[in-house]
């Protein structure tokens, strides 16, 4: 079942010809955390984290609550500024920032707007070409087309999560950060999520998703890593096996 990491040179079907969104580049990019530290007052969310993710890799991140998973994903998507250390994107000319899609615990959508209005708003903010068409296309792929004009407030947890993922894909990002995307999903949405992530991974996008131990999602990953108290403690690239990374993860 384990897929080896796709060779970067392999041809890329969908995202290749997608036009670069303003200065952000849609192509997948690698990420490099060098001695990243994030301090909230006296609490260290991240403590001297060194991690490198190659383009196209699909990394499953596990660890107890409060081990720094969410902070790592927020630092990667440039929402949070590290107190020390530096985040860089090898492979891109320095300073260029790739388009990054981020899905958090919170749905990051306006409940008093309809699904279509939400996607069109964020599409226009991102400056993508024909936000209306792109919004419909993404609603289609999230099988929410029938509920396009109803308020997000009326949506179920699964539908909101699917819409949140659609929002993250608006700028056709080469890098995706998913924070425990499976929480609170019914089986039907869970199946959809697994296929969608497999499809995105096969398109060669770089994906980092935090998961709670061995689960349906973690089998999609080409690499697994575990965080504890803000530092990397196990990494399959560092020789650990998938089982060892996840086994202790639940301690």
């Amino acid at each position: 079942m384990r897929r080896n990491a796709r060779a970067p040179s392999e041809s890329c079907e969908t995202w290749c010809e997608a036009d670069a969104v303003s200065e952000r580049i849609g192509r997948p990019a690698g990420l490099k955390f060098t001695k990243i530290e994030k301090r909230f007052g006296s609490l260290y969310a991240l403590r001297r984290l060194d991690l490198e993710i190659a383009p196209g890799e699909c990394v499953a991140l596990t660890g107890r609550n409060g081990s720094g998973k969410t902070t790592l994903l927020r630092v990667a998507s440039q929402l949070t500024r590290p107190t020390r250390g530096e985040l860089s994107f090898p492979g891109l000319k320095d300073g260029a920032v790739p388009a990054i899609g981020y899905v958090a615990h919170a749905i990051m959508l306006y409940e008093e707007l309809t699904a279509e209005e939400n996607l069109q708003l964020f599409g226009r903010l991102l400056g993508i070409a024909e936000p209306r068409r792109r919004a419909l296309e993404l609603l289609e792929s999230a099988n929410l087309a029938t509920r396009a004009t109803s308020l997000v407030r009326t949506f179920s947890r699964g539908m909101k999560q699917r819409l949140a993922i659609a929002r993250a894909l608006l700028s056709d990002p080469g890098v995706l950060m998913l924070d425990e995307p499976a929480t609170g999903l019914d089986t039907e949405s869970m199946a959809w999520l697994r296929n969608r992530i497999r499809e995105l991974r096969d398109q060669g996008r770089t994906i980092v998703m935090s998961v709670h131990g061995e689960s349906a999602l973690s089998q999609l990953a080409t690499r697994a890593a575990r965080l504890d108290a803000g530092t990397l403690v196990a990494d399959t690239r560092g020789g650990a096996t998938f089982q060892s990374v996840f086994a202790v993860g639940e301690a």
Partner: protein
């Protein structure tokens, strides 16, 4: 520690000399008489509080740009000292106004502006107690510190212009100071400025030892 000791001694001597000058060297003012001597504490305190608030604004801007905690300590220390000087102005004002003009509070331009200033910076200090995370508190109060300091000239300007629109008989600072009075005034200003520097330094030391304590606690946690 010796340096602070010597500096504290020097400030005390300077304050003593100023007090002596205010009471004995400066001539008694013709119209108001003895009570005018409060002027030598009241007026310079107002100016020194403005200086303290300017230092606080510099600290805030520096923190926003460099994110080093020491600038935040400077901002909060000088703001607190500024509020202390403002309180002195607001308390000595009525004590002077009552015997001289029979009113406890005179809506004189400078006194009113100092009152608004006091409200602004007490709000600044209260805001700091309302945010728990140290870095968030520092950044947010730095922004408010800049906002407040930008408001100060507008407050002084609008109240001064408002006061000239509705002139009022009671005049606080007797403009016509004779030379010796002016000298004593500058001496008092100098001594209060040195006192401000001393108090800011002392408050700053408190902040840095608080940080030291926090890092030590973390080390203990880590081992």
């Amino acid at each position: 520690m010796a340096k602070t000791g010597v500096y504290t001694f020097l400030v005390c001597v300077l304050m003593g000399v100023t007090a002596y000058a205010s009471f004995y060297i400066a001539p008694t003012e013709s119209t108001m008489g003895l009570v005018q001597r409060i002027f030598y504490l009241h007026a310079p305190s107002g100016m020194v509080s403005l200086m303290a608030f300017m230092i606080s604004c510099i600290g805030s801007v520096a923190y926003i740009l460099t994110r080093k905690p020491k600038w935040d300590w400077l901002a909060v220390s000088s703001a607190e000292v500024g509020v202390a000087f403002c309180t002195v102005v607001l308390l000595t004002g009525p004590i002077w106004a009552h015997p001289a003009w029979g009113v406890w509070w005179a809506w004189d331009a400078r006194l009113t502006s100092t009152l608004v200033l006091w409200l602004l910076y007490v709000a600044f200090l209260i805001l700091r107690t309302m945010i728990d995370d140290a870095d968030r508190r520092a950044l947010v109060s730095a922004f408010f510190g800049v906002f407040t300091f930008l408001d100060v000239p507008l407050v002084y300007g609008s109240i001064w212009w408002w006061r000239t629109q509705h002139p009022q008989p009671v005049v606080f600072t007797s403009a016509g100071l004779d030379p010796t009075m002016r000298k004593v005034f500058y001496l008092s200003w100098l001594s209060l400025t040195c006192l401000m520097a001393l108090l800011i330094r002392q408050r700053y030391e408190l902040e840095s030892s608080r940080e030291e304590l926090r890092t030590l606690e973390q080390e203990l946690e880590a081992t």
